[in-house]
Symmetry: C2
Subunit: 481 residues, 2 copies
């Protein structure tokens, strides 16, 4: 049912709700065809990242010709960075609209994991929603995977909004609180399009949870202090504003910090629900978490499955075009917290490309959230690779977030509050508050020389030296001289 060259829209968002059987069968078939001398490669669309049974299995057999909109699989990453696989890294809120607009080409087959099918023929979505609504509607044919491992109590957790349209027929999205349900709990699918239903019983495979280290705790501490200060100044309500948080151990440390902090009645309007958010829901600090996917450690996923009855009215899973919609992020006034690979002294952020060229994962939803945030925060330890890489550099080697979209940068060294500052004012604050002491004098030196020798002094810069640190790392394995 899936031929070479086909475009396949799969379910899956951060290691949850992706199909487990069909991609592995495809991988075996690709291997067999290749052995028989027949080239066989696919174009693969998903919600975001998936699990090893999908991206890993297909990339291992070099079965992916083109991939969008996000990847975090290490084998696929290697293929991409070897130039063997084309990868289009997209704003996650824009995937569904652009598919509808016809900008991505036709979609041949959708392969979607679900939890079950109701008596009326509606589909009960799985642990992620992603772009499933759009794939089901746009694909010529549909293959369903019904996964018994997922909790049957997921029924009713989802809110699938069917009110989107192409312009000139778009209307306001009627969501004004993170708790609002504006759609229906089920996915629709034209039964005539369903060509196969596969039963599975396999767990989602997210990366195991790495506990917050000292740096992550320090970052969380700076942020808690900042939030407290903003509440005192009247610039944030006592229950803060809807939280968006990227994934990782810094994000989990922030959740820990919130769990021990003074803020009550919190809400989350975010992309994925991590371990730390479940803890906050359990303690009652967090009232509700709205997202498009679960992104849990194996232990948390198992525990959620066991206790879904407790969690189900505190969770809402939406299509990613809604969970990440700029209209909603701006309206709700989200406090957004995302990671970075490197920031420059002016507050430009590189979230994706190591040394400017080697992609790590992708921009994901960070652009959807950061530009429309009430306060856009980026977090990272100040160094990587045991100090050989500085996360604060003279000039970022790739830009995902421009200075206008970055209000606060936090490292274990401190917090730079960049609101209302000009580029030169920002530079002084970033160097002073965020840079590691090993790199601080080097950054000051660059900035002073740029102030003296730059062509213009709005954003002082020396083209011949801006990437010297990156080049040095490539030459010597260390950004330091």
């Amino acid at each position: 049912m899936i031929g070479s060259g086909a475009t396949v829209g799969m379910s899956g968002f951060t290691g949850s709700g992706y199909p487990k059987a069909v991609p592995q069968a495809l991988a075996r078939r690709i291997e067999a065809e290749r052995a028989a001398g027949n080239p066989f490669r696919l174009r693969v669309w998903t919600g975001a990242s998936t699990g090893p049974e999908l991206d890993g299995a297909l990339a291992r057999v070099d079965g992916i010709e083109f991939r969008l909109p996000y990847n975090s699989d290490p084998i696929a990453r290697e293929r991409i960075n070897n130039g063997e696989m084309e990868y289009l890294d997209m704003h996650l809120s824009q995937v569904a609209p652009m598919a509808w607009q016809g900008f991505l080409g036709p979609l041949d087959t959708a392969v979607i994991e679900i939890v079950g099918i109701t008596g009326e023929g509606d589909l009960i979505p799985s642990a992620s929603v992603g772009n499933n609504k759009t794939w089901l509607e746009r694909a010529e044919r549909v293959i369903l995977e019904v996964n018994r491992w997922q909790s049957a109590d997921l029924e009713g957790v989802h809110d699938i909004y069917y009110g989107t349209a192409l312009p000139p027929h778009r209307v306001p999205i009627p969501l004004i609180k993170p708790t609002d349900r504006i759609g229906q709990p089920y996915l629709r699918c034209d039964p005539d399009k369903i060509v196969a239903i596969v039963e599975t019983d396999a767990p989602d495979r997210n990366a195991p949870f790495s506990p917050p280290d000292e740096n992550a705790r320090a970052i969380a501490g700076h942020l808690m202090e900042f939030f407290g200060h903003e509440v005192k100044k009247g610039r944030l309500p006592a229950s803060l504003l809807p939280l968006q948080s990227g994934v990782g151990n810094v994000a989990n440390a922030v959740m820990e910090g919130l769990n021990e902090g003074p803020f009550e009645n919190l809400t989350a309007f975010t992309e994925v629900i991590q371990d730390g958010m479940l803890t906050l829901l359990e303690s009652g600090k967090l009232r509700v978490a709205s997202a498009t996917a679960m992104s849990l450690s194996p232990e948390a996923a198992a525990s959620l499955n066991d206790r879904m009855a407790f969690f189900r009215d505190k969770l809402i899973l939406r299509p990613q075009e809604i969970s990440n919609h700029p209209e909603l992020v701006r309206r709700l006034g989200c406090i957004t917290m995302n990671g970075l690979i490197e920031a420059d002294i002016y507050g430009n952020i590189n979230s994706t490309h190591i040394m400017g060229s080697r992609i790590y994962n992708g921009i994901g939803g960070s652009g959807d959230f950061a530009r429309n945030a009430y306060i856009s925060v980026f977090v990272s330890p100040s160094t990587a690779k045991g100090g050989k890489i500085s996360a604060i550099v003279p000039h970022v080697s790739h830009v995902d977030h421009i200075t206008q979209d970055v209000q606060v940068i936090v490292t274990e060294q401190g917090l730079a509050d960049l609101r209302g500052l000009s580029p030169k004012q920002r530079a002084r604050v970033v160097i002073e508050h965020c840079a590691h002491p090993d790199y601080r004098p080097l950054l000051k030196d660059y900035f002073e020389r740029a102030m003296r020798d730059s062509y213009g002094r709005q954003t002082p810069m020396l083209p011949g030296q801006a990437f010297a640190w990156h080049q040095r790392f490539l030459d010597t394995g260390d950004m330091r001289p």
Copy 2:
């Protein structure tokens, strides 16, 4: 009434509706105080750029310590690039919300040009709205300039929306068509805050209109062909979608092209109304133009004033937080067309910084529109300075728009349709379709070497050579070897 160190919020957006008398009086006073040994500098906020009587006069006497959110005055630009004036270049839709959020500090005095005051005490706005609503509300005291030169028929053209709020109280903005009026025609102002009313009778001073040259006409031709193709493919309605256009002679050439083209019943949802849009309104091709300001040549401004009775029901002027609101740009599905200083082979755009450091104007509304566009188009001649600068470079020296926000790039050489392409696919199309023949082999050479030697091959890049062209221009005055 305005002391040294004060923050003053002035009206004005692209040379229209700015106060003409008070800033010049301030400039004289600053000069006198300085002569008497008293330092005197201000923090100046506006809608966007203004006229020589405001930014020019105050910058000439070095009277501006800090400026936001946009500037195009040549004297102020020189101060900024000399490092003598701090300048915060902001997304224009975010100025009002960030002022309300308290992120920009307190506002002491508002100085606002209006056309008149009604019997009920409402203010009739002038030829631009900008941030006037917010400055009137946030300032401690208000100075009004009533300008008799502006047409009295401007009354009723404006649509001032008073439904904005801070989160968690924000609601959907009830605008679903560019023609919708969702507010009231007048600005409110607490009479107790008004400390002075100044009468003036002076014209707005926009830069004169430079007629489209051959390159601009070629760019417009490529775009018209593209629009026709998209309509034929069913990806755009026959009346296109609401148009946003930056300023300049390329924009005017596009308007000329539309005036001679096959598309009827057009609408504009944009930031400023230029000469070319008035022509389109006159011919009936354009039904309505919604914006926040007029930006007309002296002749067009005079002609508009004379014929306001004809134009007034075809024009809507809104606060800039509404004209540029991401929610509305995304909902309406705007086709956005903005200029660039340089684009790189991957489609990152530098709209603001010459050689990465020397600011030209600012990002303005281009980020508000481009990220949320249905199709985001960037236009520019392929070279500048008689061929010594290429608008297509290996790596942009500053980023305002990331590749995800750029679907189409057009130069006189051709049009690059980047939708659905990975970075390496984009690079080939940009080099082939947009680069000037003098630079095309050099770009190909860089890209091939980057493909071979880059650390990663998702977005091939050579840190040691990425800015070689910029450095060469700084050294020799020519990007070519």
